[in-house]
């Protein structure tokens, strides 16, 4: 199995380097191959880690908890790699090569994080995800992208500074028991358990929740998230939301394990419950005020990260199993929703939901799939999100957290109404008749948004690409409520089949997770939940 781990660490990195050196079309093929290969490698790893821990020295380690997060990231890496082929169609060679370089290295860092056997290396992997993803957010070279990437890199890096401080205090705690040459290896820290000194472990956990929580998007350190998710290219938004947030949450879980072993479960669970409820409350309210489809989904991500934190705080076995399933289901649902939303932004050349009308009629595949993704995300049966949230609520009731479980149900329902209202308006409201093409205007009207998506893609008939590219090149502002430079082509049809297939796969996975998870996956989730409860 060490070969599989080594391959997981080598393939995406090598793919990224090669992609920068070859033409864009070849880079697209290499990226898809790398994504599919990594997903295959993780699938090969799952049965092994579902029944034991795989490690190499104290620096590489894969257990069931790692396996869950690897699976979520690898699935999204493969799906989004396919989606990116359609998304980047018509983009320049230089842009595409830079994109694929960053995309693969970003995926590499996210795959590497759960494989790190030491809290120090875990921090380094998460920091690498930050610097790479900041460049990917900025790649569109718009005012919005520049602002979002700066806020992201500054806030996330400051948060990771606190996480580094947490790592230092974890080392101090470990050194008191394991000696000064301990290297923050996760296994020995967990085994040291109750012998670790309480004060530094408590401080380390608090700093880790605050620090890594910045990247997870927990309230009140979530402020970068809606900006970055909305301004990044859609494939990057999908990875940020479905994989990066979860990977950062994985880091919190490792500190949670150490803190629970050293302090007992009271303090860590109470801390996570407070952050989780606050995040869920904020997100479920903010979902209502959004006009930008990607910001809407970004706030939904804050909501789901809050649900994960609350689920862990419940502590019951069924709730922890629900959390592990939720990581997978959220990755599939949010990835599908972002990719579906990306098709809409390409079709309508705006991110404003008020301008997206008649989606069900205009996008025969993406319309229903986007609706299915939104309903799945809102925990409609038979999606995996329904199953996971049901388990979390059941765990809350079983562990006596009645008020928190009730709050969870109420706030998730509130968020559902926000998401469902927006999505159904986009899909079911009839499209307006063809609008006259107004005179060009580069001035940004109030509320105007530049569209990072959509540049260079055309509908099946090829109309509009030149206009759109030209508009982008001149920095045109495309808005929903104001005159636009290039009118959207509202002919019925999909922008690209490459952008439909991965969404279809995501929805299929959601149904599979909701109806009947495969036996190996069920074993993996059960073991991961047991590990979170303290079983080695």
């Amino acid at each position: 199995m060490i070969g599989v781990i080594a391959a997981l660490l080598a393939v995406p990195l090598a793919a990224g380097v090669v992609c920068f050196l070859v033409p864009a079309k070849v880079a697209a093929g290499i990226t898809v191959a790398s994504g599919v290969a990594c997903f295959g490698l993780v699938l090969a790893l799952v049965p092994e880690v579902a029944h034991g821990t795989v490690g190499y020295g104290s620096y590489l380690r894969a257990d069931a908890v790692s396996g869950v997060f690897l699976l979520a990231t690898a699935f999204l890496y493969a799906a989004v790699a396919v989606y990116a082929v359609g998304y980047l169609h018509g983009r320049g060679d230089k842009y595409s090569r830079r994109f694929y370089l960053g995309f693969n290295v970003f995926a590499w860092a996210m795959l590497a994080a759960p494989l790190m056997g030491s809290l120090a290396l875990l921090w380094i992997a998460i920091e690498v995800t930050t610097v790479v993803s900041a460049l990917l957010i900025a790649i569109e070279d718009t005012d919005g992208a520049a602002e979002a990437s700066w806020k992201y890199v500054l806030i996330a890096s400051a948060g990771l500074g606190l996480a580094l401080l947490a790592t230092i205090f974890a080392y101090y705690a470990g050194a008191q028991v394991l000696g000064v040459h301990s290297n923050l290896a996760i296994g020995p820290l967990l085994r040291a358990g109750g012998r670790l000194p309480a004060a530094p472990v408590r401080l380390a956990f608090l700093l880790a929740v605050l620090g890594y929580g910045t990247k997870v998007g927990l309230f009140p350190v979530h402020t970068w998230l809606p900006d970055a998710h909305s301004e990044a290219p859609t494939p990057v938004s999908a990875l940020l939301s479905g994989a990066l947030l979860a990977t950062s949450f994985y880091a919190i879980l490792r500190f949670y394990q150490v803190a629970s072993a050293a302090l007992g479960t009271g303090f860590p669970r109470d801390t996570l419950l407070a952050f989780g409820i606050a995040s869920l409350l904020l997100a479920s309210l903010y979902v209502f005020g959004q006009r930008d489809v990607k910001r809407l989904l970004a706030y939904s991500s804050v909501e789901h990260m809050g649900i994960l934190a609350i689920g862990v705080s419940f502590g019951a076995p069924i709730a922890l199993a629900g959390v592990m399933l939720h990581v997978l289901a959220h990755a599939a649902a949010k990835g599908s929703a972002f990719m579906g939303a990306g098709v809409f932004t390409v079709k309508y050349r705006t991110m404003q939901m008020t301008a997206m009308r008649g989606g069900l009629a205009l996008l025969p595949w993406s319309g229903p799939l986007f609706l299915a993704s939104i309903f799945a995300l809102s925990a409609f049966p038979p999606s995996g999100v329904f199953r996971s949230e049901f388990q979390i609520v059941a765990g809350g009731l079983a562990s006596g957290h009645y008020a928190a479980a009730a709050a969870l149900v109420v706030l998730v329902t509130v968020a559902f109404f926000g998401l469902a209202t927006s999505a159904t308006s986009m899909l079911l409201t009839p499209a307006p008749g063809p609008a006259p093409l107004p005179a060009p205007s580069l001035a940004a009207p109030p509320g105007g948004r530049q569209v990072p998506d959509g540049g260079g893609r055309a509908d099946q008939d090829g109309a509009g690409r030149a206009d759109e590219d030209g508009a982008r090149a001149r920095g045109a502002v495309l808005t929903a409520d104001a005159p636009v430079r290039a009118a959207p082509d509202l002919a019925r049809g999909e922008p690209s089949a490459w952008m439909v297939v991965p969404v279809l796969a995501g929805v299929a996975v959601l149904v599979l997770l909701g109806v009947h998870p495969p036996a190996d996956l069920a074993d993996l989730i059960t073991r991961a939940a047991a590990q979170l409860r303290g079983t080695p």
Partner: protein
């Protein structure tokens, strides 16, 4: 009460000097001079590493001190100067008047935060005889002043330097309570910092090219 040993005394003095330099960065209007103050602060970190290496007989720390000096005193300021080009070499309007509150209020707020950090970290109960508690408390104060620097200055260069100095504060805390951390990991941390510096520099350069200023006053379009 016994007087502190050479190591503890040196650690505390160096930590206090680092905190003073942190305030200098907060108050300094010219980016070039902020970078110099950062380099001086980084040099003090290397000196402290040498002191600890000698006191505790940790030869790895000599290598770490050299590497830290190479990267944080040499490479990082160099990379910043190269990436920022002309904006760093002059007092640009975007930097000189970049306070979100008045300079006096900023300094007073930073002093209050430093006191809060000092007493918070000082009350952690870390009573290891080898860990100078005062230096650790000063590291806590530096963390808060670094955050203040990122918040009260409204220009990308100061905010970036605030982050780099935050890393120096964490390095100080690490030297005090985690001096035995394996060299391999310390080295990885340092190269990770260098990577972050390059990315910060690229984004600053892109911002300057777009806005013709280092000011972040116009980065307010994304809300809600």
């Amino acid at each position: 009460m016994s007087s502190p040993g050479v190591y503890v005394g040196a650690a505390n003095v160096i930590a206090a000097l680092m905190l003073l330099l942190e305030f200098g960065m907060l108050r300094q209007a010219v980016v070039r001079d902020q970078v110099r103050l950062y380099a001086a602060q980084s040099a003090l970190i290397s000196v402290l590493a040498v002191v600890i290496a000698a006191d505790r007989d940790l030869p790895d720390l000599y290598a770490l001190a050299a590497l830290s000096a190479l990267l944080k005193v040499g490479a990082v300021p160099l990379v910043l100067r190269r990436l920022l080009g002309s904006p760093i070499s002059e007092q640009t309007p975007g930097v000189a008047g970049s306070y979100t509150i008045s300079p006096a209020s900023a300094v007073l707020a930073a002093i209050a935060l430093a006191a809060f950090g000092f007493f918070s970290f000082g009350s952690l109960g870390i009573h290891d005889p080898e860990a100078p508690a005062t230096a650790l408390a000063i590291a806590g104060a530096m963390v808060f002043v670094a955050f203040a620097l990122m918040i009260v200055r409204r220009d990308v260069a100061s905010q970036a330097i605030g982050f780099f100095s935050l890393e120096n504060a964490i390095s100080l805390a690490a030297l005090v309570v985690a001096a035995g951390l394996p060299l391999l990991l310390e080295t990885a941390f340092l190269f990770d910092l260098l990577l972050a510096v390059v990315v910060f520099g690229m984004l600053i350069r892109a911002h300057h090219a777009r806005a013709e200023s280092l000011s972040t006053a116009d980065l307010t379009k994304l809300r809600g």
